[in-house]
Amino acid sequence: MTTTRSQLPFGRRPLTAHMRWRYGWSAVGVIGSGFCAGLAASLLLLILGYVAIQGVAALNPAFLTHVPRPVGVPGAGVANGIVGTFIVVGIAVALATPVGVFTGIYLALFGRGRFAETVRFLADVLSGIPSIAIGLFAYTLFVQPFRHFSALSASLAFAILMLPLIIRTAEESIARVPTRVREGALALGISTYSSTIHIIVPAARAGIITGLLLAIARVTGETAPLLFTAFGSQFWELNPTNPMAVLALQVFTYAISPYEDWHRQAWAGAFLLIVAVLILNVSARLVLRNRFEA
């Protein structure tokens, strides 16, 4: 007696040629994309590992606490650059946050019509503009007229770089607050203003903070706009209207120098930058994870 295919229990039937062909391609797809993912991940790990090895070797307490010294003089550090990074980024955050968050609120809650569409479009365009162009803009606006480099002009460039990210994440996280929560506030006889300030924005807080952290991470490693704004400095400088050392800029300067000693410092500085960005990214994730807690 012959058994035809269809009489066998399901699952024991031999595969048709067509199905075998499909499973074959499916396997190729899975293995191929898995290989690419592995390649990308190992490249990233390689970079991180290399910078870590090179960087840690040059790290020492003096590096974190001292200002730069001439080539070959021991005990040189980038403390002024670390502090300068905090100052430049801090002022940028102070400039960009209110503008960005309020723009996001506006777009999410009242953003219908041509004006809002234009703002959205401009934010998208802005996020694609090379940072060096924005640095040039800050230079023209803030350095040239005063004939004086300043940390403030670098903060301006950073603020512009951060704006699109802050705007879009604020808009998205506010738009995600359900309409019925808004309506619930209004039904209590609460004005749109109060409900926005006291209910909507706090409900969207985690998303807004995440956007902010990612924006900070983005500019912390930026170097190009600093070349002709903050300019750099060998000394302690806390006055934002003066040229100032910034870590990313120091890494650049040291890396293109001809000195072995400075190369080692460049690696150490790059390592510090990566650690900072890593911490920012991880905190952004942590903030999002806890977002539904009151």
Partner: protein
């Protein structure tokens, strides 16, 4: 002659139903006159004239999409937020047109509160949810806020379940508890009218029973308007029932009468379950 219809929903509800007809008709708290609501070109509410009495529960029934929510939202100017919605005709509260010139919609919604189909607590603590309204309306004294919180939660039959966790997140409550919290939140701002849009539709029978008891108790102090899909619920909690169909109000009257002697054939068809 057709045989008289049976009303299975009303079994056991007789004593509730006997009440409204015997009482004198209370004065009207809110009234609409020739109310029309449009969504763009779509005419969602057509010339509805209806009186909503004080200290009574008015039920709005009708098949899905007939405009019950649309009508309800016109009563506290919720449509102001929907750009494509347009309201015509008059809605009065104690004789004043709430769409009249110089009327502040925020003030209107302060006096006419609303409970929604799906519970919508704020992502804050239970305490903060209840006292948020009073706080924004200017109550700063902490002792007073604590009292308001307790009073409102007791009224909403939620106090015993949450009194030990007032500072934990409202989002951790069950659906039924969240809905009662939203009612408590409304009571805390002391409105005069409470609008409820299918407040129990997402709840199990036990939670529904609690909400229904609550609605029935609310009629002592408030004018209550409730949208419901449940005929039994309308019969149990309401004094007056209005039947809506395709944007029109077909029939209104004391609940007992609408349910036992509907004057319009379409009302009869709906409550006997022929359609809808």
């Amino acid at each position: 002659m057709p045989a008289p219809y049976q009303f299975p929903y009303l079994v056991g509800g007789a004593e509730t139903l006997a009440r409204p007809a015997s009482e004198p008709r209370p004065p009207s708290k809110m009234a609409t006159d020739g109310l029309n609501v449009f969504y763009g070109q779509f005419h969602a509410i057509k010339h509805v004239t209806l009186s909503l009495p004080d200290r009574r529960v008015s039920a709005l029934i009708g098949p899905s999409g007939c405009g019950k929510s649309t009508f309800l939202r016109a009563l506290n100017r919720m449509h102001d937020l929907t750009p494509e919605a347009r309201v015509e005709g008059s809605v009065t509260l104690d004789g004043t047109d709430i769409y009249g010139p110089g009327i502040d919609p925020v003030e209107v919604r302060h006096r006419i509160g609303m409970v929604f189909q799906r519970a919508n607590p704020f992502p804050k603590s239970i305490f903060e949810n209840v006292v948020f309204g009073p706080k924004v309306h200017g109550e700063r004294r902490h002792r007073e806020l604590i009292e308001i919180c307790e009073r409102s939660l007791v009224k909403a039959a939620l106090w015993d379940e949450v009194k030990d966790r007032l500072n934990s997140s409202a989002l951790g409550l069950s659906g039924g508890q969240q809905q009662r919290l939203c009612i408590a939140r409304q009571l805390a701002v002391e409105p005069e009218v409470i609008l409820m849009d299918e407040p129990a539709s997402a709840l199990d029978p036990l939670a529904t029973a609690k909400i229904e008891d609550l609605i029935f108790a609310l009629r002592r102090d408030y004018a209550v308007v409730i949208v419901t899909h449940s005929m039994q619920q309308a019969a149990r909690v309401s004094d007056l029932t209005s039947f809506f169909l395709l944007g029109e109000m077909i029939e209104t009257g004391p609940t007992a009468e609408v349910f036992t002697h509907p004057t319009d054939r379409r009302t009869e068809d709906y409550i006997t379950g022929r359609f809808g």
